[in-house]
Symmetry: C2
Subunit: 653 residues, 2 copies
C-alpha cells in the first residue's frame, strides 16, 4: 500500500503523447499527459487514492474470483468451453482492469502493481492464436465459430479494450508484451474486417475509438482506415435484427444521418467518440459537425441533470426526447464514462469549454457516485429517485446488473467498476490542455500542471478545496519569456457572481473560457472565485415526470434528499419542500431546506379528487447532500427532484 | 362469414356449468354461461362480431404463417428440432386460439370454425407421447430434456392453456378429442409433479388456475390437489435465480406471505387467480383474504387509470408503489386479461361489486384498446403517453413485442391477440351472475340474460347504448312466482347523479350493487341512469410522474388527447389544458377541452429557470376521445394525463 504522499517521480522514459489516453494528431487544444498534470489532493486526489488503494485491487480480486482470468489459463490448458465463466465479454473486463493498472503504474510508478500487470499479461499472451485472434469465448471445439455472432459476441469490443490497455501501457512504459499482443490483434482485425473481408461491424462499438488511438500510438494508418470502415459501415443494417431493434446497436441509421444519440447509451457514446476520432484524423469536418449536433440534441433533450444518460432499463437505452423519469433513470455509470470520452474529444477538437462543463457535471454526479466510500462496491445504474430502501447486496456474490438499490461489490456484467478505475487513474489528463499560445485549465483540483507552449514550458500550481468552496488559486511556477495566455473555465452554472482576480484587480467574469494574456512571473497568483451558493433548478416543461418539482444544485454538485437526513418523514416519496426556506449559506457541500410530509389519503383507488393538502403539516428542516455521496449510510430512500408544496394535482372546483 | 343476426340457437347438449370459463363448486355468486348470457349488440356486441369475423381468423392465419402449427406436424414427421419455429411457448398460442374458437363455436354454433378447430386438434393429438407429455420444444434428440428448464421452458404453462382450451370445449360441445388430450396431459403433470415427484413449479404460472378448472370440469380432485401443491411450493426459491431476480416469477416470497402483487405482471395475475381458485375449492379463507389484500394494495398503488398493470418494460413487471410513468407504461394487454380473470374470481367469491368495477375499467381501457378497429392488429403494451408518432409496423411481419407505437399484426411473443380473442368470445359470462335469491347484472350491454334462481328461471332483456349514454333499460322477460332480487351495479365512478327508476318511481342510488327485491311480472321495466358527464380525475400525490396533470373520464371510459384531434399543436407533448373550459355536455363518447401549446425555450440544457409561460398562447379546442379508440387514424402522438396551464416548474423568485 502507498499513499499520495509517497508518489515517486514519473518514469523518465515517457515519450511524446506520454500518459495521454487521447492524443489526436491534429486538434485545437493539445491534451496533457499524466506526467504533465498531477492531481495532488482534494476531491479528485482522494478518489485517485481510493482507486490506487482499493478500487483497482478490488477489481483484481473479483476478475480472479469470477474466473475471468482463469478463462485465459483454461484456454491454454484445453479446458474450454467447459471451464469458461462469465458472459461473452468477460475478457474485456480483464483488459479494462489492465488499462486502469497501466495508467496507475504510469501515474505512481507502483512496481508491485506493475509486477501484477505483467503477470496478468503473461497469462493472456499464450491464448493469442497464430493469426492474432484472441478470445476465450469463440473458436474452439464446442464454442461458436469466430465472428459467428457479431451482434452479441463482443469479439471486436474485447479487442477494443485490449488496444486501449495497450495504449495506456505504451504511453507509460513503452512497447512491452501487451503492446505486441495488441498489435497482432489489430493486424488481425484489419486482415479479417478490412476491404475485401467481412463487411460488418461489432454489436458493441468500442473497436473504432481504440483502433484510432492505436493508430495514433503506433503511427500505422491502417488501423485508422479500419476504424473509418467500421464507422461508415454501421447503420446500414449489416447486423441482424434483434428484439430490441437495430437501433439498440446503432445499426438502424448511418452515423452521418443520425440527428440525436439513440439506442443503447454506452454503445451510442463509444460509437460517437470513435466517429470523432476518425473525423479528426481524416479532416472530416462534416462528420465532426454531425456528432456535435447529435450530442447537442442529446444534452438538450435526453440527459439527466446529473449528466447521466439512458432513460430506459430495457435495452439500457436512451428514451424519447424529454422522457426522463427520475425513478427509472438507468444512467449507467459506463454511459457517463462514455459521455466523458466523447465530450473530451470534442473539447480537444473545438476548444469549446461547454464540453468541459459536461465532463465536470458527469464526473461529480455520475462517475463519483458509482463507487462506495470504501471503493469496494459500485452502482451500475444511477437512479435519481430511490423509492424503496432495498436490501444490502451480498458482499460475496456478483449481483444482477441493475436491480439493487445499494451498491454491489460486483456484477455479472461488470463493466462499471473497471471503467471507473481506468477513468480515475487517467483523470489528470482531463484537467487541462495546452496550445501554442498557452495553457487552459478545465477542471479544478489541487494539482500541478506543466505544459509546452510556444517558447518553452509553463507550469502552474492549482490550490483549491473545490467543490467545497469556490476559490481556485493558480500560482505560476514556471514561465517563458514574453506573453502567453492562461485560460480558466468559468462553468456554465456560474451565471452570476464569478470573479477573477489578477494583479490585485478583481473583475466579474461570465461562463466560458476566461483568458489572461500577459507576461507572467513565477509566483504570480491568479484567483478565480466561483459562486457556490446553492441554487434552484427547474426542469424543461416537456419533462413531464418532473413537473412541479425543483432540484437544488451547488457548484458542480447536484444535491439530493436522502431519508437518512429527513427525520420525521417516513420516506422521501412523501416529502414536499417549501421553497422560501432554502438556507443558501455557503457551508460545506450541502444545504438545508424546509420540508414537510404530504398528507396522504390512502384510498382504494389512486385517481379521484387528488391531493388533500394539509397546510398545518409539521415543517422540518432537512439537509440536502451531494448526490454522489448517497447510499453510504445503510438502506435509504432518496430523491433529487423535490415536489414543491402546492404542486399536487387537485380536481378543479 | 356470419353476422350476429345469423346466430343460431345454442347447442342443446350444454350441461351444468355449460359455457362458463370459471365455475367454482362453491361461491357467493354463481357464474352464468354463454348459453345464459347473450350479448346482442352495442359496444361489446360489435367487438364479439369483430372477434368472430376478423380477430380469430387473423390469429388462425398467423399461427399458421409463423409455423407454430407446423411445429406439431414437424414433431410427428421427425423434423424437430430443425424445423421448429417460435419461442419456447409457441404451442400455447395455438392452445389459446383453440380456446377462443371453442367459446366462439359454443356461442354461435359456427360449424365451419368447428371443423377448423377439429383439424387443429387432430394435428396436435399425435404429438402427445405415451405418458401424456406434449410439447414441441423439449424432449427429442437435439432438444433440451423434459423439464430441464422450468424457469424459462414454459412446459407447464403450455399445458395450462391446453387445459383451459379443453374446458372451453368440454363446456360447449362436451368430451371430445381435445378433452381427452388434456386429461392425459393433466394426469401426466400429476404423475411427474405430484407428491414424490419433481418438487418445483413452472416459471410462468397458468397451470394452477387451469388445473383447478379442469378439476371442476372433470370432477377429479387430483388436479385440484396438484394445483394446490404448485401454489404452496412457489416462493421458496424452488426455481433458479435469474438476472431479473426470483421476484420476476414470484418465487421470492410465498404466496401467503406477499402483501402486494409484484414481478412480471401477467405471471402475478395468473398466479393470484390460481390461488383464489385453490382457496375457494379448499375452503381456505386465509388464502382468499391474502389475495384480496394483495389486489387491494395493487389497485391502490400499482395500477394505471386505465386498469393497466405493469410499469416496467424491463421484466414486463410491476414497479414500486406509485411508480406509474405514463410514457413508460407497459400495461400489457395480457396483464389486463389476467386482472379480469382475478377480479372475476373474487367477484364470484365475495359478491363485492368493486371487482366488477375493475373488470369494467379494464375491459374498456385495456382489452378494448388492444385490437385495431379492423381486428387485424394489436397493441401488446398500452402506453398512456405516446411521445413520438412512430412508423406503421409491417402488415406482413411479426414485430418485436413492445417497441411499436402503432398496433402490429403479430408479435414474436404473441400472447396478446389470442388472449383478447378468448376473452371476447367468452365475454358474456362476465356480464351477470345469479344466486338463489336472484340475478346480478355487473356489466351493461345489449343482452339477454337467463338465470336459475330459487323456484325456476328468470330472464331479462337489457337495452342500452352504454357507454355512449348512461341509460340502461332492464325488461323482465321471464320470472318466477314470488319475490326475487334484481341487483344492478352502480359503478364506483358514478358517485353523484345515478338514479334507478322502478314502477314509475325514480330514486338516487350510490355506487355498489343496488337491489330491487319484489315480485316481478314479465314486461316490467327497470331503468338505471348513470351520470355520463365528463369528469376530471386527479392522481394520488405520490405518483410523481403525474404531478400537475389531470385526466378526463367519461363513464367507464378514460379519454385521451390524440394529436389528430389537436390541430394547431405540433404534438401532444406540448399541450396544456385550461381547466375552466371543459365542455361537459353529454354527447357521444368524447368531450371537448381547451388546450394551448406551451411556450418552449429550446436551450442547450434542459435544467435552469424552468418554464417561460406565454399567457397569450393561442387557445384552441380539442376533442378528447376514448383511449381505446386511439391510433386508428395513422401515426399520432397521444396522452391521457394533461398538464394544467400553470403547473410547469419555475425557479422561485
Amino acid at each position: 500500500m502507498f499513499s499520495i504522499a509517497e508518489l515517486t517521480d514519473f518514469p523518465t522514459h515517457l515519450a511524446s503523447a506520454a500518459g495521454r489516453p487521447v492524443s489526436p494528431s491534429r486538434s485545437l487544444l493539445t491534451p496533457l499527459g499524466l506526467d504533465e498534470v498531477r492531481i495532488e489532493g482534494g476531491f479528485w486526489g482522494e478518489r485517485q487514492e481510493l482507486n490506487a488503494n482499493a478500487i483497482i485491487e478490488h477489481c483484481e480480486h473479483w476478475v480472479d474470483k469470477m474466473g475471468w482470468v482463469d478463462n485465459f489459463d483454461a484456454a491454454v490448458e484445453g479446458r474450454l468451453p467447459s471451464d469458461r465463466t462469465g458472459r461473452e465479454f468477460a475478457d474485456s473486463d480483464v483488459y479494462k482492469l489492465i488499462e486502469a493498472m497501466a495508467w496507475e503504474i504510469g501515474r505512481t510508478n507502483n512496481t508491485a502493481m506493475d509486477a501484477r500487470l505483467q503477470a496478468l499479461v503473461a497469462r493472456i499472451a499464450p491464448v493469442q492464436e497464430e493469426d492474432g485472434y484472441l478470445n476465450t469465448h469463440f473458436g474452439r471445439p464446442g464454442q461458436g465459430e469466430r465472428y459467428s455472432d457479431l451482434q452479441w459476441g463482443h469479439e471486436l469490443y474485447c479487442y477494443g479494450h485490449l488496444l486501449q490497455a495497450a495504449v495506456a501501457r505504451g504511453r507509460t512504459v513503452g512497447d512491452d508484451q501487451l503492446v505486441q499482443i495488441a498489435r497482432r490483434a489489430a493486424d488481425h482485425v484489419c486482415e479479417v474486417f478490412g476491404a475485401g473481408g467481412i463487411e460488418s461491424v461489432c454489436g458493441h462499438p468500442e473497436i473504432e475509438t481504440a483502433l484510432v488511438e492505436f493508430s495514433r500510438y503506433t503511427g500505422d494508418a491502417r488501423y485508422l482506415e479500419q476504424a473509418r470502415l467500421f464507422v461508415e459501415r454501421r447503420g446500414h443494417g449489416v447486423l441482424g435484427d434483434i428484439e430490441f431493434g437495430r437501433s439498440y446497436y446503432q445499426d438502424d441509421v448511418p452515423v452521418r444521418d443520425a440527428t440525436v444519440l439513440a439506442g443503447h447509451s454506452v454503445r451510442a457514446m463509444y460509437l460517437a467518440a470513435g466517429a470523432v476520432d476518425v473525423a479528426v484524423e481524416t479532416d472530416d469536418e462534416d462528420l465532426v459537425r454531425t456528432i456535435i449536433g447529435q450530442l447537442s440534441e442529446t444534452l438538450a433533450k435526453r440527459t439527466y441533470i446529473t449528466g447521466g444518460m439512458g432513460a430506459h432499463h430495457e435495452g439500457e437505452s436512451f428514451g424519447s426526447d424529454f422522457e426522463l423519469p427520475s425513478d427509472r433513470a438507468y444512467s449507467e455509470t459506463c454511459a457517463g464514462v462514455g459521455s466523458i470520452m466523447l465530450n473530451y474529444r470534442l473539447l480537444l477538437a473545438t476548444g469549446d469549454s461547454a464540453y468541459a462543463d459536461v465532463i465536470e457535471r458527469t464526473l461529480f454526479n455520475v462517475v463519483a457516485a458509482s463507487p462506495a466510500a470504501d471503493g469496494r462496491a459500485f452502482f451500475y445504474t444511477n437512479t435519481l429517485h430511490q423509492r424503496e430502501p432495498g436490501s444490502i447486496p451480498s458482499a460475496d456474490e456478483a449481483s444482477p446488473r441493475a436491480s439493487s438499490s445499494l451498491r454491489a461489490p460486483w456484477f455479472e456484467v461488470s463493466c462499471c467498476p473497471t471503467n471507473v478505475a481506468r477513468t480515475l487513474a487517467s483523470l489528470g489528463s482531463y484537467l487541462a490542455t495546452s496550445s501554442d499560445s498557452g495553457l487552459q485549465i478545465h477542471q479544478y483540483a489541487d494539482s500541478t500542471i506543466a505544459a509546452a507552449v510556444s517558447g518553452g514550458t509553463v507550469g502552474v500550481k492549482v490550490s483549491t478545496d473545490y467543490p467545497v468552496h469556490g476559490l481556485v488559486r493558480v500560482e505560476i511556477t514556471d514561465t517563458v519569456d514574453g506573453e502567453w495566455e492562461l485560460a480558466l473555465r468559468v462553468p456554465g452554472w456560474a451565471r452570476i457572481g464569478a470573479t477573477l482576480t489578477d494583479n490585485g484587480e478583481t473583475r466579474a467574469v461570465e461562463p466560458g473560457a476566461v483568458s489572461i494574456r500577459r507576461a507572467f512571473a513565477v509566483g504570480d497568483v491568479i484567483e478565480l472565485s466561483l459562486p457556490m451558493a446553492a441554487r434552484w433548478s427547474a426542469p424543461d416543461p416537456r419533462i413531464d415526470a418532473l413537473r412541479g418539482q425543483l432540484a437544488v444544485e451547488r457548484g458542480p454538485l447536484v444535491l439530493c434528499l436522502e431519508s437518512t437526513d429527513a427525520p420525521g418523514i417516513a420516506n422521501v416519496n412523501e416529502a414536499r419542500i417549501l421553497t422560501e426556506l432554502l438556507d443558501r449559506t455557503d457551508e460545506g457541500e450541502g444545504v438545508t431546506v424546509a420540508v414537510c410530509a404530504a398528507t396522504l389519503t390512502d384510498g382504494g383507488w389512486p385517481y379521484g379528487a387528488g391531493a388533500v393538502v394539509d397546510n398545518d403539516a409539521p415543517v422540518t428542516r432537512a439537509a440536502l447532500r451531494p448526490y454522489y455521496s448517497w447510499a453510504n449510510r445503510g438502506p435509504s430512500t432518496m430523491r433529487i427532484w423535490l415536489p414543491v408544496v402546492g404542486s399536487d394535482s387537485v380536481v378543479p372546483a
